[in-house]
């Protein structure tokens, strides 16, 4: 089986895995990184949203081979120790989460958006596809705007 070496949240890891194994299962089942969630497996719900070299990806449809030599960041790697990322802070201030299951993906999607656009418009926020079945969208929008103001 091929071997892939890459960084996860600043830690270098090497895994034996078939080239096409989705990164989501490498993270969750091999490495015990459980922040990214399964919600559909086909890049629809976006609950697993994480970053590959800083860009938003959905590990449920990204093969492990694509991560080789690169930097994967999941929700667990967003804060700097106990110091939360401004987006996480904004999420707390707006008390966004209900069941919380989609929120790691929502936060990672928001961080990626804010990296591209310091002050996203409503239309840009509308373009975020992540499903929140609890219906927290209004608070997500407020939290993104709040984080944008902080950053």
């Amino acid at each position: 089986m091929p071997t892939y070496t890459f960084a996860v949240n600043g830690r270098t890891v090497t895994v034996d895995a078939p080239a096409d194994m989705p990164l989501l299962w490498v993270l969750r089942d091999r490495l015990g990184v459980t922040g990214p969630k399964y919600g559909c497996g086909i890049d629809v719900c976006k609950a697993c949203t994480s970053h590959l070299d800083g860009e938003a990806i959905n590990p449920c449809v990204v093969a492990v081979s694509e991560a080789a030599g690169r930097e994967v960041t999941t929700i667990e790697g967003l804060a700097d120790g106990d110091v939360l990322h401004p987006v996480q802070e904004a999420w707390l201030e707006q008390d966004v989460a209900q069941c919380g299951y989609c929120q790691p993906g929502q936060i990672m999607a928001a961080v990626a958006l804010l990296r591209k656009t310091a002050n996203p418009t409503d239309a840009e926020i509308d373009a975020i596809q992540n499903v929140c079945r609890c219906g927290t969208y209004v608070r997500i929008r407020e939290a993104i705007k709040r984080a944008a103001a902080k950053m």
């Binding site: 194994m21 919600g39 559909c40 086909i42 967003l78 209900q98 409503d122 079945r133 209004v138 929008r141």
Partner: protein, 745 residues
Amino acid sequence: MGDPTASTTELTGGAVGRRRFLTFLVAAPTLTLATTNLVPEEAAAAEAGLPGLPQPADIMDLGDVLILAGTPTAHLLTLEVTEDGEAHFELPRAEVGQGITTAVAMLVAEELDLPLAKVRVRLADARPELLMNQLTGGSNTIRSVYGPVRRTAAAARARLVAAAGVRWDLAPGRLVTRDGAVVAPDGRTATYGSLTSLAATLPLPGLTAKPKPESEHTLVGTPTSRIDARAMVTGAMRYTLDLDVAGARPTMVRRPPTINGTVRSVNNETEVRAMPGVIDLAVVPTGVAVMAETFGQALDAKDALDVTWNGGTVDSLSDADIRKRLRAAALPFAVPPLLTLHVDAEFDFAFVSHAPLETNCAIADVREDRAEIWAGLKSAIVAKQTIAAAIGLPEDRVTVHVRQSGGSFGRRLFFDGALEAAQISKAMAKPVKLMWSRIDDMRHGRARPATHHKIRATYALGRVLTYEHRVAAVETDLRHGLGEILTATAASLPVAGNLSFAQTVFLTTVKVPYDFGVVTELLNEVPLKMHTASWRSVYSANTRGAEEILVDELAKKMGKDPVAFRRTFLKTDRQRRVLDKVAAEGDWGRAMPAGFAQGVGFHDEYKSCTACLVEIDARDPDEPRVVRAVIAADVGRPINPRGLEAQLLGGLTDAISTTLRAGLHIDRGLPLEGSYSQFHYARQKDSPLDVRIFIMPAGGEPGGAGELGVPAAVGAIANAYARATGIRPRSFPINFDVDFTPFPR
């Protein structure tokens, strides 16, 4: 578990009247208390005093029924004060996102004068001794635990004060509590942690304690952030499948091409067993289970299986057949339309998936002589009993851990995932970590049943004379312990005759909030062997939603403005204040551009009421968007207004989804929809840009709130759509084309 030393607490007033309670010490090194009832229950029905002709739900709603059933065991709620000064409370309910652990922590912190951060709320394992007091549903958690939690904490505080009094040789009456400590008049303080051992051993037979007067609450009633929010935003929150249970490997099930189909033969077992990562394979009642090293490999293996299937239970049924059966099942009206002015309308609602984001899942470790289960379970006791029977173990050999889970909306009333995991674990003789695929979750999971509604209202001289609503619904499965509860409380129920459980639930949850003369609402069910379950607000989303549409049409016929009409016919000033609030804050009647309109809806359930005003942009009737919403709610006594707002926001989003676009098409025995790309639950782009929520000031006991938000918003959205487009919506969701290629069966 009791100790001879006991103290009493009293609670006066409230929905269930004046009672006395006895608090027991639980044998433990630190202060651990439980509280019991001394006085037999009076039925809440005795206190009904509503003017006019009340409907059953006015007299005693489903929440009252659940409280009544749970009261004999309400004392088994336990609270421990630890040596590091924390309060640990074990909540026999399921947290699925509704915020009950935060609200309960607030109640404990308030009563103990302890910082909220020092209160830990853990979900209790299934505890059969609680009998009917471990069901999470009917918007009932806060209603049912508000009194018992406060009484238990009040007794704990009294004991801690008494312990400090003994230590300092001071009368307890001279001591106060503050910030997790007892404070003497001279300024000496003793932390709860330093007192708990003494408090656990003091004989205090005469001790009495009362919960604080609500007027002295400083935390309860103030907007408070969730106690678990940080874990959620850092990825530290552990849902069921994030647990590391020794030896439990990823497992998935290949399911039949139609609902309830069964395995006839597995035709390529050898090949699949040889696939990468595959560990084991077993045929179970629901399909073929595959265990692998990773979920990715289990998914590949289950997809590679070649299975010959036996038929299911509804193979010949599609939406058109179901709709025909529902129309035939709707009971006739009593009032003929010939002699009076009247409004008639019929409505259809599609099946709707619960679709919680965390799919059905469980961990099970079944051994020869014992079993251990982890899952999100709203009916934990029935789950435990059923699983024990299914795997042939005595109940007390089965431990069922209730895990906080990723949404429910009624779904986790059923424990099919936990049961299936146990069956697989037994068949494979290995611990299993079971996950359903999204496609399976949507197609073989549970759904809100399709319904058909006929409504007729007659009127004359500005008055509504009669109002009849006939609901025909595919049977809602209530076999998660509710039947036992209704049987146990039968003598107190405000309904008579040989009603089904479903009809009883219908009549104790649905009521018309308006003075509409002679009112009858009747449910008739069509039993189909499909996987259904209560969906947030059970019958009310459709039944009351349809009624709110009819109210607008009735107002129009009678020449009245929708808000003015509702104001006239609502039964109470409390209801009118909520309606007035949204009309004022939402600037009801303001001029709107073509294609835009306002709509209003009202709903009253479980001792709470709410109004919703929305503005819709329906310039393209096929792509409408709710752009603004104003909601007001009176829940009697808000514990955490911030959490309540979240619940109302969720109800609004549910209503936007199910009214405009989200539903399931049934096609030859299976839903066509298999993911969120097909089941159109709202996304950010469907959500309003501006939502304002107003929680009315406290004025009584807590009412139910978890489901409250849906029905009024359904009515408001449909009414806004009708006003914006001139199209009177009759079938929901309004835009429901099959705009996708279904996944293979």
